[in-house]
Amino acid sequence: MTRRTREALSGFAWLLPALVILLAFRVLPIGLSVRMSLYDWGMAGARAFVGLGNYAGVLRDPVFWQSLASTGWYVLFEVPLILFISLFIAILLNQKIRGLGAYRTIYYLPVVTSIVAVSVVWRWILQPDRGLLNYVLSWFHIAGIRWLQDPRGLFRLIAGPSVQLPAALRGPSIALLSLVMMGIWKGIGYNVVIFLAGLQNIDKSYYEAARIDGAGRWAMFRRITWPLISPTTYYVLIMSGISAFETFAQVWIMTGPPAGGPLGTTKVVMYYFYETSFELWRLGYGAAIAFIAFAIILALTILQRVFLERRVQYG
């Protein structure tokens, strides 16, 4: 045996444990998932080959489209809000204030806390008759918001009852927006830390030069901070988009019964996938949902790359 073969063999040997686990619990399932999506597959196993029938079924399924719309609204509201709030806080914290560490800790606490615990506590805070939030709002004479139980769409509420809006334009329900609100509270700490690191990487001399030229705060933000922080912004956008797409535990714990309510307005794609696969045990159909959702995420990520990355300035 030459030295090269020996080295190659040891290489494979060292890789083997990781490889075996990944083959058994990633590669094999992904392959099997493709196959399952082509069958009418229940818990007992494959029943009938249906070709692309499951995919066609999902694309014709009004509940799927509603869940996609709910997910879309969730992402559309949560991601930009998280982005701007955490950038704003990061800029405030970057002013060499005293007690930066303490602030960072406070913002970061919700990040390490499990989504289950956070959801349980927020369900209590959002309780309509006894909850803390409605009590605090009552100081401002705002009463009777039924947070997690209100299925009415935001745009419908703004437009008023006299305007007839098609279903797709009614907007996220108050219940879904309650989940968005909690998501922002849980998510900003992570992004504040990322933005702070990005801000501290910007060369201070740019700001000094701008100050000499008499630039105001807004001009400095617009011309220096915003362009130079764009790689971080892009990263935050992608990461919070992906995590918003994965919303699941909140729905399981906070909404309903039945979960996904009221009127299915919080039934996001992940929850619909769970319900189909593990409550109704329509495994083939569930696999098709997973692939279609994955294709959509992939397409959106590529679109973001094409349209946004050109505007990101590296280095």
Partner: protein, 253 residues
């Protein structure tokens, strides 16, 4: 930001009657520490804790073992298909959970592993991000170190143990911290692969408890407080490492 935490703590120390008072009281009028005793009688909280600790510890052990070996192989051995295989690993990292969850369930079912610790541990004994992090780090170590080790007659194992690992402290700490947080808090996977209280980890047990107790907020908040305390303590202990390594992971992009 901390108000929800305060509210959790304050509710957990109230009597059920006071908790449902409206307008609510900010400070419990009499401290009901007995809530914390009662919650242990309502649900097998110790059991949940033990399950979570066991799953967290064993999967961390697996992640470190497989991760260090795979990273060393990718960084130090030359073999055909090495780069392709590494790209394959990275590609797997992009595949979201739903795509492999259902068939994984079936595989675990066929193995007879549903509702066992193995179902929660074995599939999570590899963390591709850990392999990636360690490989990048090992590749940056100077070649001289490895040459010196070889001249001293070190085998690959000894080189790894004596030379490489002591120099990998930073990435190892990052991996430990993030893996512990992720397994302690994981919910979707254990929800699906467990169905009895004996096996259930803390998060799943707490979630079921919250579905059963729709009005008993004092006990629910006591259970939640107990569930979040260990990670908050870990966070305070390792705050610097957690925040620094997270900030770095953002910069790398």
């Amino acid at each position: 930001m901390v108000l929800p935490f305060y509210w959790m703590l304050s509710t957990s120390l109230k009597t059920p009657l006071e908790a449902l008072k409206f307008p609510p009281t900010w400070w419990p009028s009499s401290m009901q520490f007995s809530n914390y005793r009662d919650v242990f009688q309502q649900i097998p909280l110790w059991r949940y804790f033990a399950n979570t600790v066991l799953v967290t510890a064993l999967s961390l052990f697996g992640v470190l073992a497989t991760g260090i070996m795979a990273a060393y192989a990718f960084a130090r051995f030359r073999f055909p298909g090495r780069e392709v295989l590494f790209m394959g690993f990275l590609a797997l990292m992009m595949i979201p959970l739903p795509v492999y969850l259902v068939p994984s369930y079936i595989i675990l079912y066929k193995l007879g592993w549903i509702d066992t610790y193995a179902a929660m541990i074995v599939p999570w004994t590899v963390n591709i991000f850990a392999i990636f992090l360690l490989r990048q780090h090992i590749r940056q170590l100077p070649q001289d170190l490895f040459d010196a080790a070889r001249i001293d007659g070190c085998s690959d194992w000894t080189t790894l143990r004596r030379v490489v690992l002591p120099l990998c402290k930073a990435p190892l700490v990052t991996i430990v911290v993030f893996n512990v947080i992720a397994s302690w808090n994981s919910f979707f996977w254990p929800l699906i692969v467990t169905n009895s209280d004996k096996i259930r980890p803390l998060q799943v047990g707490l979630a079921y408890f919250s579905r059963e107790q729709t009005t008993n907020y004092t006990l629910l908040m006591a259970a939640t407080t107990l569930a979040v305390i260990p990670l908050i303590l870990l966070f305070f202990a390792a705050q610097k490492q957690i925040i620094q390594s997270q900030a770095r992971s953002g910069l790398k992009e």
